[in-house]
């Protein structure tokens, strides 16, 4: 939509000149020569801007101005006053009446148009924020436009970088969506140029790219893009990012928009000499400046109050107000303090000039010097001001970017942490799987070892006993063969040989039994221990029928365990009791339940009143091949109790003993309960 301008001036040449200039700039133009015509035009149409001459044939332009500003529908429309009057007073009056700006004739057409553009874009309230999309793909551009319009934005599309920049300069959009890949200027270059222009600098820019490379993102951000969006993520994502960006831009630093470089700089020239002032103004206007002239310090201050300027040229010697006073007052105002203030001085007034600088002037220029130097110095001062403004801008941007960077860093760290966590979990899982495998391998190895042990035991039981038989057999046959020739000692030696073989045979049997205890697969069932004990006792008695011993087996003793192993257990314990009571006068053996049941298990005791043992050796009791008695006293291999201990352990129980020499012994043991898992 083209902006519209109403040009009100009684001079035909002015009207034509301005009309041509504005139409070339893309404005829709209407012209009126009188106040009445202007009023009519205003009623028919809403204009975005009015250029108003002060002196009109049928009325005062200022009156129309007042009307316009008073009526609500037109109050917001910017009005540029155009006048040949360059009296300060008129200017002040015009501005005070409500004009948005005052352009003196002769005017610079380009300046007016540029100024007009500024006003139009600043003044025109947009119901919907405008987004400029720069993309050479018509399909994607259309997709974006559709998405933007649905979301409540207006969209303007440029197909090339250059077109996009022109659109941006004209329309001053709320934000730019720029495609990275463009013919001619690429997206990064477009953004760089946007950032270089003072007017567009603060426009939020989102760079759209198909690339996923991080390096591209960094380039884009370095070039000045505010954000980076993936094209293949879709229009919705780009839109979401845009919304976020606009939100933060609105909540931004709140600094005022700077004047564009395109806008002409306004200089206030103050000198009481009319001739010098006139020449100065001409020179400055020739440079493209807009010049406002004042004849005294007081006038200057009055003018400053109604219109901002970009630079002040102040004559040293002026009536009424001294230059120091003027400087001081100007610099005292916060709004004017930063305006470059240059003192114009004659050569022999150096003292006063120094005073002026001390009072706050930024620089001095000798009047008699070349105007070129004056203009150059002025340019320098203005540039400095510009730079200071830009510096502030940059610092603010930097701060903003730093905040963003910190946020992005935090987000990145979060996702990195999350990734690290996931990697850690995966590693743990892998380690777990490896451990499982190892366990599996270990089990297989254990099973193999067990099997090997099986065949080993099997071999042992066969192959170790046969030679023993040979030793015993042949030594006996030898004895028989030459028994008559042998004396007692020789016979004794033969007996020792026999005993050795017997003993070895016994050892082998016991060791095999011990090994079998460990190897055997447990079959848990309810065992009647009373019956088992009684059967074993019967065997013992049958082996030595001459012995008299009182054996008390308690009734109803039951346990949960493996029948074979429990038999071995009782055989050993009862067998020991039987063996070690052989010397007792009135042997007494007891097998009963023990009172204290620890750990919820069932406890039993086998008690005898036989030889007993010394408790200080109790630690050795259940060791393999450990004996606490001499072999001559009581035969034994020292394996029986080790076997008992192993059986008890496989039943998850405990075994312990109490004794005193010659006072008998009590062996306690616990076994697992049915509830305890085997």
């Amino acid at each position: 939509m083209k902006p519209s301008v109403l040009i009100v001036d009684d001079s035909l040449t002015v009207r034509m000149d301005l009309k041509e200039a504005f139409e070339a700039a893309g404005f829709e133009t209407h012209t009126s020569a009188t106040v009445a015509a202007a009023r009519r035009a205003g009623q028919e149409k809403n204009f975005d801007l009015v250029i108003l001459d002060v002196l009109l044939p049928d009325g005062d332009g200022l009156g129309l101005l007042q009307e316009l500003k008073a009526a609500p529908p037109t109050a917001h429309v910017p009005v540029l006053l155009l006048s040949s009057e360059h009296e300060v007073r008129d200017r002040v009056r015009g501005l005070k009446t409500g004009a948005d700006d005052y352009v003196g004739k002769p005017y610079d057409t380009a300046q007016i148009v540029a100024r007009a553009r500024e006003f139009v874009h600043r003044g025109r309230p947009r119901e919907r924020p405008l987004i400029v999309v720069i993309d050479d793909s018509p399909t994607f551009a259309a997709e974006l436009r559709a998405a933007l319009e649905t979301a409540g934005y207006d969209a303007a599309v440029g197909a090339t970088g250059e077109e996009g920049l022109r659109l941006a300069a004209d329309l001053r959009p709320a934000a730019l969506l720029v495609d990275q890949m463009l013919p001619g200027l690429d997206g990064v270059e477009v953004i760089r140029r946007v950032r270089a222009d003072a007017a567009l600098r603060r426009t939020p820019c989102v760079l759209l790219t198909a690339s996923e490379a991080r390096v591209d993102e960094l380039r884009a951000l370095e070039a000045g893009a505010d954000m980076f969006a993936q094209k293949n993520a879709g229009a919705a994502v780009a839109l979401a990012k845009l919304t976020a960006l606009l939100r933060t831009a609105r909540e931004g630093t709140g600094a005022t928009a700077p004047a564009s470089l395109l806008a002409p700089k306004r200089i206030l020239a103050v000198d009481d000499s009319a001739t010098f002032l006139g020449e100065l103004c001409d020179q400055l206007r020739g440079e493209g400046y807009d010049v406002v002239a004042a004849r005294s310090g007081a006038e200057a201050i009055e003018l400053l109050g109604s219109q901002p300027v970009d630079g002040i040229l102040l004559d040293l010697l002026m009536p009424e107000m001294s230059v120091q006073e003027a400087c001081r007052r100007i610099k005292a105002e916060p709004a004017w303090r930063d305006i470059p203030l240059i003192i114009l001085t004659a050569l022999d007034e150096s003292a006063a000039m120094i005073e002026g600088i001390n009072a706050g002037a930024d620089d001095y220029i000798a009047k008699s010097a070349d105007f070129e130097i004056l203009k150059a110095r002025l340019r320098a001062q203005l540039r400095r001001r510009q730079f200071e403004d830009e510096n502030r801008e940059i610092r603010e941007q930097l701060h903003y970017r730093e905040m963003e960077a910190v946020e992005m860093q935090a987000l990145r760290e979060l996702s990195e942490t999350r990734a690290a966590l996931i990697a850690d979990l995966e590693e743990k899982n892998a380690a777990l799987a490896r451990t499982n495998e190892e366990l599996h391998r270990a089990k297989t190895a254990a099973d193999t070892a067990n099997q090997e042990l099986e065949s080993f035991s099997y071999s042992v039981s066969h192959d170790l006993r046969a030679p023993l038989r040979a030793i015993d057999g042949f030594s006996q046959m030898l004895l028989k063969q030459c028994g008559a020739q042998l004396d007692d000692k020789s016979r004794h030696y033969f007996d020792r040989v026999r005993e050795g073989t017997q003993r070895m045979g016994q050892l082998i049997d016991d060791m095999l039994a011990l090994a079998r205890v460990t190897r055997t697969e447990l079959r848990f069932e309810r065992i009647d221990l009373t019956a088992l004990a009684r059967a074993i006792v019967a065997e013992l008695r049958a082996g030595a029928p001459e012995r008299e011993a009182e054996i008390a087996i308690a009734d109803g003793l039951t346990a949960h365990g493996d029948r074979g192993l429990l038999r071995i257990l009782l055989e050993n314990l009862l067998g020991n009791a039987w063996k070690f009571t052989v010397k007792a006068a009135a042997a007494r053996i007891e097998f009963a339940r023990h009172a204290a049941a620890l750990d919820g298990g069932v406890a039993f005791v086998v008690r005898d009143n036989g030889a007993g043992f010394d408790m200080q050796y109790a630690g050795k009791l259940f060791g393999v091949f450990q004996r606490l008695h001499a072999a001559e006293e009581f035969p034994g291999t020292g394996i029986g109790l080790a076997t008992v201990a192993r059986v008890v352990r496989r039943h998850r129980g405990r075994v312990w003993a109490e004794s005193a020499p010659d006072r008998g012994a009590a062996f306690y043991f616990t076994l697992a309960t049915p509830t305890f898992p085997p």
Partner: protein
């Protein structure tokens, strides 16, 4: 009456000698056929190999069979003996050092008539052999010869 034959299948030379000595001590004078391993035992029982051509009507009154034998072990011999109609009724006594439960189960389930564990003790060994001989050669009635094939 023909003298009853004993087939002794034993690979260990010491045990062979001790057993023969025990027979002698016990006054058992029957013919003892020696087989040094399972293959030889089968050769004899089925009249093959070195015993080819032997009169199959003549069978041992008892076979004393060790379990751990080279070439063909005792259990395999037992299986073959029980599987063949000519020999399936023959009394077989397992005479072995092993007290392994597995061996006993295997032996009995394959049809062994008896299982004797050879004692290490010489005296006990002699007693066992004597009782063995007395029982199987005198008291026990051997099965009748199978009808000629």
């Amino acid at each position: 009456m023909k003298s009853k034959i004993i087939l002794l299948v034993e690979d260990n030379p010491d045990d062979r000698e001790l057993t023969l000595n025990a027979f002698q001590q016990s006054g058992i004078a029957n013919d003892v056929i020696l087989a040094r391993d399972g293959a030889e035992a089968l050769d004899y029982l089925f009249a093959e190999g070195r015993h080819a051509g032997r009169d199959l009507a003549v069978m041992p009154a008892v076979t004393l069979l060790d379990l751990k034998l080279p070439k063909v072990d005792g259990l395999e011999v037992l299986r073959r003996v029980r599987a063949d109609a000519r020999t399936c009724l023959l009394p077989v006594v397992i005479l072995t050092s092993s007290k392994e439960e597995q061996d006993m189960i295997q032996s009995y389930s394959r049809g062994a008539n008896s299982y004797i564990r050879k004692p290490v003790d010489f005296e006990k060994f002699n007693v066992a052999i004597r009782q063995l001989g007395l029982y199987w050669l005198v008291i026990n009635e051997p099965p009748p010869s199978p009808p000629a094939a």
